[in-house]
């Protein structure tokens, strides 16, 4: 059961990601990214982190992607990538470098021991464990995350807000 779920979710995640980078239309890309993000949330649940899975569903697959679709819809997305001013050579080289990186990483990863995941206790899965960790050991990063989110909100409003005289486009 676990294996079947893992393979289904893995295939969905990879095909969603692949679809995302190959589609022309950004809205279709977002739909594929949604599939990928939801599958990653499912993988989080398989890794016995149900709370983080639900958070992933809520933040990455929910709020962020809805924001993406919203902005793509209000921005003029219809202009396709037709002009070819940049030479293809750079892209091919870059993709080759990435594939090389994948091969190197895969070779370094695929080493024994190949063992199944150790059994987890009740405490490992509980959101409480994460909460206690966040307010004790990771207290300062946690507070800084709050500051980061607040400053991001302020920055976004300042950036997007129009001045008095500026015309609506």
């Amino acid at each position: 059961m676990y294996q079947i779920l893992f393979y289904i979710l893995a295939v969905l995640a990879v095909s969603g990601a692949f679809g995302m980078i190959t589609r022309k239309n950004p809205i279709v890309s977002v739909a594929f990214l949604t599939i990928s993000m939801v599958s990653i949330a499912g993988l989080f649940a398989l890794l016995s982190a149900p709370f983080l899975a639900v958070l992933q569903l809520m933040i990455s697959a929910g709020a962020v992607i809805v924001l993406f679709v919203f902005v793509i819809m209000i921005v003029d997305y219809r202009r396709e990538e037709s002009r070819r001013r940049v030479i293809q050579f750079g892209r091919v080289l870059g993709s080759a470098a990435v594939i090389y990186l994948v091969i190197v990483l895969a070779l370094s990863i695929l080493k024994p021991p190949f063992i199944a995941a150790p059994l987890t206790g009740e405490a490992f899965e509980m959101p409480e464990t994460l909460g206690r960790l966040l307010i004790s050991e990771f207290m300062i990063p946690f507070e800084l995350t709050g500051v980061l989110l607040l400053s991001a909100a302020v920055a976004v409003i300042l950036m997007v807000k129009r001045g008095e005289g500026e015309r609506d486009t």
Partner: protein, 421 residues
């Protein structure tokens, strides 16, 4: 062994309950609208000389929608256009998975818990699904290749993102009171006395949650995504036949789940007011002997009254409404059976599981009554208040509900600190 069968069984039961709630809620909404607008409402659809106050109109609607022509607009993006209604219905159905309908029922070695998934982060799951459900509307709006649909979809996504935050803040104050994300814990934490339900302990959170849920289910004061006067019908203007029916069903199921959620989080869930479930379990004998015949007598009285009212409208068969006499005689029969059965059962001394099953059913009925009461509130508000303007809606979300939620959070935290330390 019994677990797997019961798992499938309970999913089927809950799905049937949700899908069956749609015609009932549609009927309730039409009747409610009619009474608020001082008219009778639907009362014409007749099946076998009976009307039951027009409850068959839902069936007639379903047949009408099924037999309509499927239209697919030109230039639409087909995958999104066809996936959107399915996604809408799916997302509104799966958010019921964490709602407990009753206390776990134990018969022999089997435990039957009428809750599909008892997640530790149950309420967050509901929030996640509701933030996810903007996708269906956005894709419907974009896929139909229609300006009005697109504007409807955009409005909907902005509305959902804006009201997600106050809703989450209200939910956080409930977490703080209950000390858990799990919905079962939140229900048990409230207890049986209505004075300790979350609606009394967290009135501000209740108001915020109620308004936010209304905004999330796109009902009238907030139905800007489908405002008829401005956008024809918003995101589902290009949909016809069963695809439209799916959006329609999704909306009503959303409303019913909103009712269930408010009943669960703020009105004590499946707990019967003032009566402790443990007490009922131990004193099964008395319940069967007293409560059941009493209920039977009540039903029989209702049935007799209903039959009595039939006399006042002497219509010959074939033209009139036989609803009262059929319903009345059914109620009378059930009532008499309950009276006789209650006495017999009391005398025969039935095993304990019978009373446990009865308690289980009673808890489901109590939860459903609470949920339907909340739905009635939704309907009442829908037909009383006019639609917000877009900027008014945004101002309500960001400038009223958000600060209110934050202040409520701080006050809740302070009170909890004061009580505990």
């Amino acid at each position: 062994m019994c677990e797997n069968v019961l798992e499938i069984l309970k999913i089927l039961i809950i799905l049937a309950m949700l899908l069956g709630s749609v015609p009932f809620l549609v009927w309730m909404e039409r009747k409610g609208a009619a009474y608020i607008q001082d008219r009778r409402g639907p009362n014409r659809a007749t099946v076998l000389f009976t009307r039951f106050g027009g409850i068959f109109h839902g069936m007639a609607d379903a047949i009408k929608l099924l037999s309509k022509e499927e239209v697919c607009p030109e230039g639409s993006y087909k995958p999104f256009y066809f996936a959107a209604p399915i996604l809408a219905l799916f997302l509104s159905l799966i958010s019921v998975a964490v709602i407990p309908f009753a206390e776990p029922l134990k018969i022999g070695g089997c435990e039957f818990n009428l809750q599909i998934a008892d997640l530790r982060s149950g309420l967050i799951y509901v929030l996640a699904i509701s933030s996810f459900s903007a996708h269906a509307i956005l894709y419907a709006g974009w896929g139909s290749n229609n300006k009005y649909s697109l504007i409807g979809g955009l409005r909907s996504s902005a509305q959902l993102i804006s009201y997600e935050i106050p809703m989450a803040l209200a939910a956080i104050s409930i977490f703080m009171v209950a000390g858990s994300f799990r919905i079962t814990d939140i229900v048990l934490d409230q207890g049986v006395v209505p004075l300790y339900w979350n609606i009394v302990r967290q009135p501000v959170a209740f108001v915020i949650f109620f308004v936010a849920l209304m905004a999330e289910s796109n009902r009238l004061p907030f139905d800007l995504p489908e405002a008829e006067a401005e956008l024809v019908a918003g995101y589902h203007v290009e949909y016809s036949s069963m695809k439209f029916a799916m959006f329609f069903m999704a909306e009503y199921i959303h409303m019913f789940i909103a009712g269930l959620l408010i009943a669960t989080l703020f009105l004590g869930g499946w707990q019967i007011p003032f009566i402790n479930a443990e007490l009922l379990k131990t004193s099964s004998y008395e319940i069967i002997l007293f409560v059941v015949p009493l209920l039977g007598a009540l039903l029989a009285l209702l049935g007799a009254l209903s039959i009595g009212s039939f006399k006042k409208c002497p219509t010959p068969f074939g033209k009139g409404d036989c609803g009262p006499i059929i319903a009345g005689s059914l109620l009378l029969i059930v009532g008499v059976v309950l009276i006789v059965g209650g006495f017999l059962a009391g005398m025969l001394d039935l095993p304990l599981w019978v009373s446990n099953v009865m308690l289980f059913l009673l808890q489901i009925v109590v939860l459903l009554i609470k949920a339907i009461f909340v739905c009635l509130l939704f309907i009442w508000i829908r037909w009383t208040l006019p639609r917000f303007r877009y900027d008014q809606m945004m101002r309500l979300g960001w400038r009223v509900l958000l600060p209110l939620g934050m202040i409520n959070l701080i006050v809740t935290g302070a009170v909890i600190m004061y009580i505990k330390y």
